[in-house]
Symmetry: C2
Subunit: 312 residues, 2 copies
Amino acid sequence: MHCRKCREKAVIGLPRHNAAFCKPCFNEFVHDQVARAIKSERMFAPQDRILVAVSGGKDSLALWDILLKLGYRADALYVDLGIGTYSTKSREKAERFAETVGKPCGATLLIHTVQEEEGAGIRELADLIHRPTCSTCGTIKRYQFNRVAVERDYDVMATGHNLDDEAARLLGNVLHWQEEYLDKQAPTLPASLEGFAKKVKPLYRLAERELAAYAVLNRIDYIVEECPMAKGSKMLLYKEVLNRLETESPGTKQAFYWGFLERQTKARPAPASMAEKDQAVLHPCMTCGQPTTADICSYCKMMARAKAGAPH
Amino acid sequence: MHCRKCREKAVIGLPRHNAAFCKPCFNEFVHDQVARAIKSERMFAPQDRILVAVSGGKDSLALWDILLKLGYRADALYVDLGIGTYSTKSREKAERFAETVGKPCGATLLIHTVQEEEGAGIRELADLIHRPTCSTCGTIKRYQFNRVAVERDYDVMATGHNLDDEAARLLGNVLHWQEEYLDKQAPTLPASLEGFAKKVKPLYRLAERELAAYAVLNRIDYIVEECPMAKGSKMLLYKEVLNRLETESPGTKQAFYWGFLERQTKARPAPASMAEKDQAVLHPCMTCGQPTTADICSYCKMMARAKAGAPH
């Protein structure tokens, strides 16, 4: 197997592109895909300050790595959920990467510790409010990433969602025809005028397998285990099913998600009108001031329930 | 396990309905589902003459059986594709059912033999025109069913597509965002003014597994093997994947296909305007007179290519 570009010995084959690459050409391919995503979806400009949501996993660390290599001003935020050794290990990975790769580029790692700030780990919080751990975690992470991005004046928040993540999420939304969620599956969600940071997914053109290869080839030390809370999750089932389809027909995930995006582009309201729409329904939470469609935002409601449920 | 209706011993459990039934109550359930489909999708009226497309398999024979038991005037058409013992056996099943169940109800089985009418079996035809067997078969069956329905003045053509068939087809269309096909996935397609018979799928509310149970419980002798030409087909792959999802979350197929139909109903043009739209683009084939969007219909083009390719 030879590299499609330079004819050297290839280190990875990409069936969906009917191509194979050596290490330098593969890195170039990955960087190109991210640069294309940033440009075509108008994610950010060279002078913008970016906040990357890192988990210690391959995708988010690869994203931070790529953005720094492409010359962007990218800091990162790690949310420590307090899930035993999983959190300890993943935090170490994020900190080590920040020290060895981030710092030399002048980039900073911010850390939010749920145990300290919310007063309990994610599992205890979920128990207290009688909700699944993953949805509790989602609420906290969305809230804290947005708060930090807005309070510290970042222009945009970037997450490491890859093609597999987006295709799996799309499959779930399509299987249940979740109109409202379908509307929000674009790789760029504009900032709302009322306090939601702009959110982007620069890895949506790259498959999970490609990001794992990028991390390994570039010696990014990441946590390999899935979050122990995610076992048996619907997303893992959707990924499994899409992998089965991808094996039979390479390119299925890409056709599915990119095809959806093309279709949405035709029907999607322009970012300006979307911000206007948001403005019409969003207002500051009466407790914390962050944007919400209700009187009290879901994070503050959750924390109030957790406090009420906690032993006195 | 007890029957949900009469508390007798159940013979089948239906996880997606969180129910179980004894034989008489299960038959009632199946008949009810078909009656609901016919009514809610305005498929046909008691006096209409129906032509059922039968293959010798469980779905189409069960459909014919149910329509006759519900008191409808339903004849059937079997297309003999000339696929060795598979065709011989499936034809026998259709003929035996016609003799034992159809005839006492005054219903007739019509037979179209590809070898005689088209001059060669389906495999030879596919070879001659260098196209996949399944697409050649689809073209011939669609053409012949429509021709017979129109020429013999049937009011409507009914096929045995079940929930699994429709969900699998929908998955394929959604994975590739086939807009045009998505528009035609309704269980009732109105007749076009220019010569397409009305087409309906009265089994779209019933799963494959339920129809297999109905056939076995009612001693309908059907051909169990899949068509040997369908091996490795995309439809079988989509069904496998949907079965995986259904096992984890009973009701997934139903939510997926029925949810799609609800969504389409909101956006779907009324039958009248659809017929008008068809009228604008369809006109008689210059060779055979059946409706087509081109000068020559795809069946006549195919047959011309087969003749040109045949050894002289």
